[in-house]
Symmetry: C2
Subunit: 140 residues, 2 copies
C-alpha cells in the first residue's frame, strides 16, 4: 500500500515548481539538485505531467518547465493520478471490473470506501496549500 517514487518524487518536483511559480521556466537540473532526485528519472515523470497538461515545457537554453496554471488550481490528486494512475487499492475498484462476485463482494465495499477517502484528501489539497503550509512552518 505504498505510493511509488513516481508519485512521491513527482509531487516533490511539482511542489518546487509551485514554490518558484512565475514567468521563468525552471530546469529539471535545478529541481533535481534542489530536491535530491535523479534528473533522468524526473524526465520520465515530467513527460506524464506534461501529457496531462499540468506543466508546459520551454526547450533550448534557459528553458525548463512551468506550471500551466496557478498553484491554487492544481490539486495533489491531479498530480498523483497523472503519475500513478488511479489511486484505487485494487483493480476491481478502479475499473469496476467484476471479481466474479459482483455486488456481493464485501471486501470490494471496504476497498471502495478506502478509495473514496483517499480521493477526498488528495482532491482537497492544492499545490498552493503545500506552499502556504511550508512557509508557515519555516517562519516559526
Amino acid at each position: 500500500m505504498k505510493l511509488s517514487t513516481k508519485g512521491r518524487y513527482g509531487l516533490m518536483a511539482m511542489f518546487q515548481l509551485a514554490l518558484e511559480f512565475g514567468d521563468e521556466p525552471i530546469s529539471l537540473k535545478y529541481i533535481a539538485e534542489k530536491q535530491g532526485l535523479s534528473e533522468n528519472y524526473l524526465e520520465q515523470l515530467f513527460s506524464n505531467l506534461k501529457r496531462d497538461g499540468l506543466i508546459q515545457s520551454v526547450r533550448g537554453a534557459q528553458g525548463g518547465y512551468l506550471l500551466t496554471r496557478e498553484p491554487k488550481d492544481i490539486t495533489v490528486g491531479q498530480v498523483l493520478r497523472s503519475l500513478e494512475g488511479h489511486l484505487a487499492p485494487a483493480e476491481c475498484v478502479q475499473h469496476d471490473i467484476d471479481c466474479s462476485k459482483e455486488d456481493n463482494c464485501a471486501t470490494k465495499l471496504v476497498l471502495m470506501k478506502i478509495k473514496d477517502s483517499i480521493d477526498n484528501v488528495i482532491d482537497s489539497i492544492t499545490l498552493e496549500d503545500m506552499v502556504v503550509e511550508t512557509l508557515k512552518n519555516n517562519s516559526n
Copy 2:
C-alpha cells in the same frame, strides 16, 4: 498505491470466518474453495493472522481456524495491518524516518494526511459490519 493480494485475500478469508462465526473450526480448504483462492497461499497469510492473535487454529481432523473474538471486535484495520504492515503511503510517514528534509518536507505532510484518512476508514469498519452489509444486499 495498490493493496497486495495478501491484504485482499486475507480480508476475504477473514470475512468468510466471520460469516460462519461459531464453535466449529473452519478448514482452509473450505475457505479457499469458497472464495476461489489458493489454499497454500492462504496458509502463509493465516500464519500472520494467528501470530497477531486474530485467529486460533485447531489441528487434526475436523480442525481448522476460528476467530479469537466476535466479528464486531475485529476491525478491517487490524486484519490489513497484520497482513500488510502499516498502511503508510511512504516509509518516512510510517517510521517517522527523516527524509533529510524533516519538518520542511511539504510532501510528507500530504502523505500523513492520506495515511490518517486511510486509518480512519479501516479502523471504523468491523468484520461484523461487512457481514451485515452483505446480508442486507443479498436480501434485496
